[in-house]
């Protein structure tokens, strides 16, 4: 459950933390069944990829394919925006874990931003190799691929499927200010 795969089990089955890639998210400490892990303060480090290092048109294209505005915030803990993740993928990152190591995304709550990461990887044509354990299982439904029988079901009117999809699409396409 380490989003940056910074823990390995070494000799004598002792866990070793790679401090250079650990971000201090605390997942290991919070889920250790034996309460055997404690967090200690480490020197703050800034993890960020300059999105302008990747070709702007390609960054925008990946965001557009993923139905995201380039400035859309996709990690509420780190404030990471879609364009940074798209650029990180275009610059060579191939898995959510590599993306987390480079940008810090998914190292806050470690919960909410897995789908936008997987959507951006798919939009860039990258099929990520699964990490060991249960880091993540896969892509799920989006507003753009809901079955018609769900969207058009009159009993489901209160979910505003069509209205929400159109709204999100309009935001994704409003890239004129970039």
């Amino acid at each position: 459950m380490c989003p940056t795969l910074s823990i390995t089990v070494g000799k004598n089955r002792l866990a070793v933390v790679n401090e250079s890639t650990c971000t201090g998210c605390g997942n290991c400490e919070e889920r250790c069944p034996e309460y055997a892990i404690s967090l200690v303060p480490i020197k703050p480090k800034l993890l960020q990829v300059d999105w302008t290092r990747a070709p702007k048109e390609r960054v925008f294209e990946v965001c557009r394919k993923a139905h995201m505005h380039p400035q859309e915030v996709i990690c509420y803990c780190t404030g990471t925006r879609a364009r940074e993740i798209a650029a990180t993928i275009l610059l060579g990152a191939k898995t959510p874990e590599q993306i987390s190591r480079q940008t810090g995304i998914r190292t806050g709550c470690t919960v909410e931003c897995i789908q936008p990461i997987l959507r951006l990887l798919a939009a860039a044509g990258v099929k990520p190799r699964k990490a060991p354990g249960f880091q993540w299982y896969g892509l799920t439904a989006t507003a753009w691929d809901l079955p018609d029988k769900v969207v058009k079901n009159p009993d489901y009117k209160k979910f505003y499927f069509d209205e929400d999809r159109k709204l999100l699409e309009r935001i994704a396409k409003s890239q004129g200010d970039e």
């Binding site: 998210c25 509420y76 709550c109 299982y137 209205e163």
Partner: protein, 477 residues
């Protein structure tokens, strides 16, 4: 009304937790500030239902649970089966958690009495603080009551695929590793900014019992209203229905806990809860929207958005400038879909995004927890944090690495923070989010305003808003 209000009510003391500071650091609570009064919910809205809590009444909750369960079919549970009682951390944030604990304990006892089943486990889900329910399990000795079978479950734990109408979603494996599941929740409205009171009773299937993929689907993939289908899709799946036993809900209102309801039919219970909540929470939320200017003081054992006042959480007060229950309104002033669409200059990407409640002129954080990304509030409301210990807590939280950069000031104590907040806000109206039972601790000036506005709000909700809210939720009305 001047001078006729009750003395402020002492809230529940700070809790010892991995997510808050040592309680000894909290030397003064906001209700102790000069000029504060208690505004009773029953005085504001006399038609609020009668409550069984406050005052604290675990025996009353036990009796109400037994009475509610008497009408539930448990014949599907056989000797030798296993049963998971699914719980959520929210329940323990209501009036100190004792009432929810009493309900959970009683569910276990009644299931054993009626079915002779012995393998009854408590599986308690969390939000973004993965040890939180373990803390409650320990505090209320639930592991003993569940014979060593009470555990906390988290969204990063191993998952299980669930085939639904909208494709594969993922639950937490340990939530579903029994023959039967009992959905033991509460009807508190809590995150209206997320669920908009659509299928409120079903939501934990997309959250507390769900893996990260499912939660992320809810918060990123389907839109601010469409997202609510995730919970229904999981609940209606064959996987869940094959394990489904019944639901049992603690029923709070802004005035206190009114009872317990249980049913084998979750959707029927969902409708019942919706009708009650729109009438009760709908009124206090509408009234909170009439406040013109105020200082909000956060003083409760929860992260920033979840501190309570009058049964309403701070995140919803931040959205009280719109009708959060009106589903035609796509974006609340705060929700994650809203936060996503602010650009790098903190301007909304589309016109539909309303500002955070402009009546909140300043926010004083006297006592809050970490474990929820809260930077949005510090960016959009002038915020004063009380105590260096509070600052350190936020600085070391991986979900709040930028939070303190946007805070206006760290004050040495509550009195200094308030002195500065009064100058900053230029109002003497104060609302305290301290979870006081059955009403609101606030300044006398605010109590006067709310008392004056309550009758017109009562009429507005009954005659204008309720019919619209119910029409928008036709299957719940």
């Amino acid at each position: 009304m001047k001078g006729n209000f009750e003395k402020p009510l002492a809230p529940i003391p700070p809790l010892k937790s991995a997510y808050g500071v040592e309680p000894r650091y909290i030397t003064k609570r906001a209700y102790q500030l000069l000029g504060m009064v208690f505004l009773s919910m029953k005085d504001l809205f006399p038609d609020m239902p009668e409550v069984i809590w406050p005052p604290a009444n675990p025996r009353g909750v036990e009796e109400a649970t037994r009475k509610a369960l008497a009408g539930v079919n448990m014949d599907m549970i056989k000797l030798g089966d296993s049963v998971n009682v699914l719980a959520s951390h929210h329940g323990w944030t209501i009036l100190g958690g004792e009432a929810y604990t009493a309900m959970l304990r009683t569910i276990r006892d009644v299931v054993e009495e009626r079915t002779s089943c012995k393998d009854i486990r408590l599986r308690a889900g969390v939000g973004l603080r993965f040890r939180e329910t373990e803390e409650y399990i320990k505090r209320f000795k639930l592991d003993e009551h569940f014979k060593g079978k009470a555990i906390g479950i988290a969204p990063v734990d191993a998952g299980v695929p669930i085939e639904t109408e909208i494709g594969t979603l993922y639950g937490i494996k340990k939530a579903y590793d029994a023959t039967w599941v009992i959905h033991a929740h509460n009807s508190d409205v809590r995150e209206i900014h997320f669920h908009r009171h659509v299928d409120r009773a079903v939501k934990p299937f997309a959250m507390s019992y769900a893996r990260i993929e499912t939660r992320s689907t809810y918060h990123h993939n389907l839109g601010p209203r469409g997202a609510n289908f995730v919970a229904r899709a999981i609940f209606k799946s064959k996987f869940v229905q094959d394990k489904w036993a019944f639901a049992c809900f603690l029923i709070p209102t802004p005035a206190g806990i009114v009872g317990v309801k249980a049913s084998n039919d979750l959707m029927a219970l969902n409708g019942e809860i919706t009708r009650l909540n729109l009438k009760t929470y709908g009124k206090i939320m509408t009234l909170l929207g009439k406040i013109d200017e105020v200082i909000a003081v956060l003083d409760f054992s929860c992260p920033v958005p979840y501190v309570f006042s009058g049964g309403v959480i701070y995140a919803n007060f931040c959205s009280a400038n719109i009708d959060l229950l009106d589903l035609d309104q796509p974006f609340p002033p705060y929700t994650w879909y809203t936060e996503a669409y602010y650009d790098e200059n903190e301007k909304p990407l589309v016109l539909e995004i309303p500002p955070l409640n402009p009546a909140i002129k300043a926010c004083v954080m006297n006592y809050t927890w970490i474990g929820y990304p809260a930077v949005f509030w510090a960016k959009h409301t002038p915020t004063i944090v009380v105590g260096e210990w509070h600052k350190k807590l936020f600085d070391e939280d991986s979900q709040n690495s930028e939070f303190m950069k946007h805070v206006r000031e760290v004050a040495p104590d509550l009195d200094t923070a308030m002195e500065h907040a009064y100058k900053l806000a230029r109002t003497d109206k104060v609302i305290i989010f301290d979870g006081a039972a059955g009403g609101i601790n606030c300044s006398e000036s605010l109590a006067e305003l709310m008392t004056r506005k309550a009758p017109e709000v009562n009429r507005e909700v009954e005659e204008k808003l309720m019919p619209k809210w119910l029409r928008q939720r036709a299957d719940e009305s």
